[in-house]
Homo-oligomer: 362 residues x 2
C-alpha cells in the first residue's frame, strides 16, 4: 500500500493507494482515530457489486454503521440527496463525532462531502473513490457541491476529507466509458504537470484505458501529488489552483447543454480541445505543439458522442461560471505543457469559433 | 464610532459599533475592499421601518444591489429561505465576488450566513444585527445554520463575516420582549465574564431593557470582546468555546417543545435557571451564590410565559443536541461567576428534577 501525504494548511491527511486494500479501511480509520458512528454513502451500482465486501469489512466496527444508497446521476446531485443523508443521521441520533464515508464516484463524493460539511456545522468525512476519475480528480481538493437551478456545482463548500483510500480493484468493474472519463482528467494533468508526464500518458493511453495496474498506479500517484501541491498552496482557488480548471469552463457548459448525457471526464476532453483551439487562435500555442496536443486529445474522439451543440446556450452557461467576475468569461488557456494561463478574457466570437472547430472532432 | 477587532486565525475582521452609523456602511465596505455586487437579506419588519434608510444608503453603490426580504420566523430558518437567496443570486448572475449583507436579527444572520457560505463554495458575508440579542450573540462566532427535520440549527457551517456593523439606533423600534431576549444573552455573559461585569449587569437591568445608549454600548463592547476572545482560541468549539453554551442545551429543547413560541433569549434565561438548579444539586454552586444568581435570573420571570412543559419531550430533544457524544447529554454547568464547567454528564433524573424546580419561576 502506498501513502501520499496531502499538506493543506490545517488539513493534513493521507491518501492510501493500492490494489485490493479496501478491507483494511477499518484498521486505517482506527489508526488515525476516526472512530465515531459511521454513515456510509454508497453508489447504487457499487453497492450491488460490493455490498458483501463492504458489509463484511464494517461488521467489525464497534460503533453504529448505517448505509445510504444513492444512484449516481446529476439529478441526484441535489438538495434531496443531501436531505436523505441528513435525515438518516438525525433519525439515528448521530452526533458531532459521526464519520461520513463516501464509496463511489465523483457525484457520491461531492454529495457526501457537502452533507458532511453542513451536518452540525461539519463532521468527519472519508473518501473511497471507486472510479479512476474520482481518484485523480475529486479525492484531493476538498471541493464539494450540488447542482441547483440548472447550475452545476453552484452550491457547495470547501471541505477536506480526513482520509482517502483508493483501491484500484474497484476500477475493474467500471464500464469502458467510465474509464475513458478518468483518462480525460489524466490528459488534463498531462498538460499541467510536465513533458515527462505528458509523454508517459501519450505512450500509455491504451494501458490506462485497460486499467493496467502498474501504469494506473503511476498516473494516479503523479496526478494526486501534483493536485495536492497545487491545492496546498491555494486551497480556496484564489490563484494558482485555477490552472486545474483547464477545459472545465467549456466542459461544464457542454455537460449542461447536453443535458448531462455527456459525462464529465469526456466533457473535459471536449473542453480542453476547445481551449486548445482558442489558445491557438490568440497565438498562445504554436502550430507544431498544437497538432501534437490535438492528436492526444482526439485519440478516442470516436468514443465520445455529442448530441446537437447549441453554441448560444453554451456561451450563456459559460457566462454564469463561478470563475467569472464582472460578467466576463475568465478562461484557463494553454501555452505549452506546464505553462498554463488563467483569468484570460477573450472575445465571445473567438470562443464561439473555437467551439465550432473543436466539435468537428467529436 | 467604536471599532472592535476580532482576531480569529485566518479570519480577522472588525465590528463597528455606534448610534446612527448605518449610513456609513458603504464607506466602510469600500474602505475594507468589499465592493462586489451586493445582495441584501433584510428582515421584513426592518424593511418596513427602514427601507428608506437602506435604499438611500445603497443608492450610491457602484455595483448591483438586490434585496431579498424574509420574515424572521423559525419556520423560515429553512432550506426554502436558503434557496430563495440562492435563486436570486443565480438569476442575477452574481459571481464569486458577491457580497451578502444580512440586516436583521439572529435568524436573518444565520440564514444569510449559511447562504453565503454555500454559494459558489463561499462568498463574502457582512452582518448588520438589528437586535440587541443578535448584536451580543450572533455577530461574533461564525455559527450559521437552519433547522431541519424538527431539529434546531442541525444544518449549518462555521463561517466568519468580513465586517459587522452594529447600529444601536435600530434597537429603539424593537418590541420590549425582543429587548428582553437580548438581556437573556447578556445575563449569560454576566455569568461567564467576571464579577465586575456581573455587578454591572445586575445594577443596570432596567437601563438595558430601556435601551439606555451608554449602558447598552458598554455591555455590547464587553460581550463582543469576550466572545471574540473565546472564539479566537477555539473557533470550532472543540474546547473552551463550549462555555458559551451555558443554559443553551436546555434552552433549545424548551424552544422546540414550546413550538418556538418561546423566544431564544428568553429560553436562555429559563435554560440557565435549569443549569443553575442542576449545578446546585450536584454541589457545584453554594447556597449563597445560588440565591444571588437565581435572583438575577428571575427578575423578569413574570414577562416570560411558558406553555405546558413536557419534561419527557425536553429530555428527548436534549439527547439529540449537537454537543453530545456517545448518546449522553453533555452539559455546561456553573460553579461561580467566571468558573464554568463543560462536558458534564448528569443523571437524567437530576436533569428532570432541575427542570421541574426551575419552571416554577416562569
Amino acid at each position: 500500500m502506498k501513502k501520499i501525504k496531502i499538506n493543506i494548511p490545517n488539513y493534513e491527511y493521507n491518501v492510501y493507494l493500492g490494489n485490493n486494500i479496501f478491507n483494511e479501511i477499518l484498521k486505517l480509520l482506527k489508526k488515525e482515530n476516526h472512530t465515531g458512528n459511521y454513515l456510509i454513502v454508497v453508489d447504487k451500482k457499487v453497492s450491488r457489486l460490493y455490498s458483501n465486501l463492504i458489509d463484511t469489512t464494517f461488521a467489525a466496527a464497534k460503533n453504529k454503521v448505517i448505509k445510504v444508497i444513492l444512484e449516481s446521476t446529476e439529478k441526484n446531485k441535489s438538495y434531496s440527496a443531501i436531505q436523505k443523508i441528513h435525515s438518516a443521521l438525525i433519525k439515528n441520533n448521530y452526533g458531532r463525532d459521526s464519520v461520513i464515508i463516501a464509496i463511489g464516484g465523483g457525484i457520491i463524493g461531492d454529495v457526501a462531502g457537502f452533507a458532511a460539511s453542513t451536518y452540525m456545522r461539519g463532521v468527519k468525512y472519508i473518501q473511497v473513490p471507486t472510479t479512476l476519475l474520482a481518484s485523480v480528480d475529486s479525492s484531493v481538493g476538498g471541493k464539494t457541491g450540488i447542482n441547483f437551478d440548472n447550475t452545476k456545482n453552484i452550491i457547495g463548500s470547501f471541505y477536506q476529507p480526513k482520509l482517502v483510500l483508493i483501491d484500484t480493484n474497484f476500477f475493474k468493474t467500471l464500464p469502458k466509458e467510465e474509464q475513458l472519463c478518468g483518462l480525460g482528467e489524466i490528459i488534463k494533468y498531462a498538460f499541467l504537470i510536465n513533458e515527462n508526464f505528458f509523454t508517459l500518458v501519450k505512450n500509455n493511453l491504451d494501458k490506462i484505458l485497460a486499467n493496467e495496474p502498474k501504469v494506473i498506479e503511476k498516473v494516479i500517484i503523479e496526478s494526486v501529488k501534483f493536485k495536492g501541491s497545487v491545492v496546498t498552496s491555494d486551497e480556496k482557488e484564489q490563484g494558482v489552483r485555477k490552472i486545474l480548471n483547464l477545459g472545465h469552463t467549456f466542459a461544464h457548459a457542454f455537460e449542461v447543454q447536453q443535458d448531462h448525457k455527456l459525462k464529465h471526464g469526456q466533457a473535459v476532453i471536449v473542453g480542453i480541445t476547445c481551449a486548445l483551439y482558442l489558445s491557438n487562435k490568440i497565438n498562445l500555442v504554436n502550430e507544431k505543439d498544437f497538432s501534437v496536443y490535438l492528436n492526444l486529445l482526439t485519440q478516442f474522439s470516436n468514443k465520445i458522442k455529442l448530441a446537437k451543440v447549441d453554441k448560444k446556450v453554451i456561451n450563456h452557461i459559460m457566462q454564469r461560471d463561478k470563475k467569472n467576475r464582472d460578467n466576463q468569461i475568465k478562461l484557463v488557456l494553454l501555452s505549452k505543457v506546464g505553462t498554463i494561463l488563467t483569468d484570460i478574457n477573450v472575445d465571445n466570437s473567438l470562443i464561439n469559433q473555437s467551439i465550432s472547430e473543436a466539435i468537428v472532432h467529436f
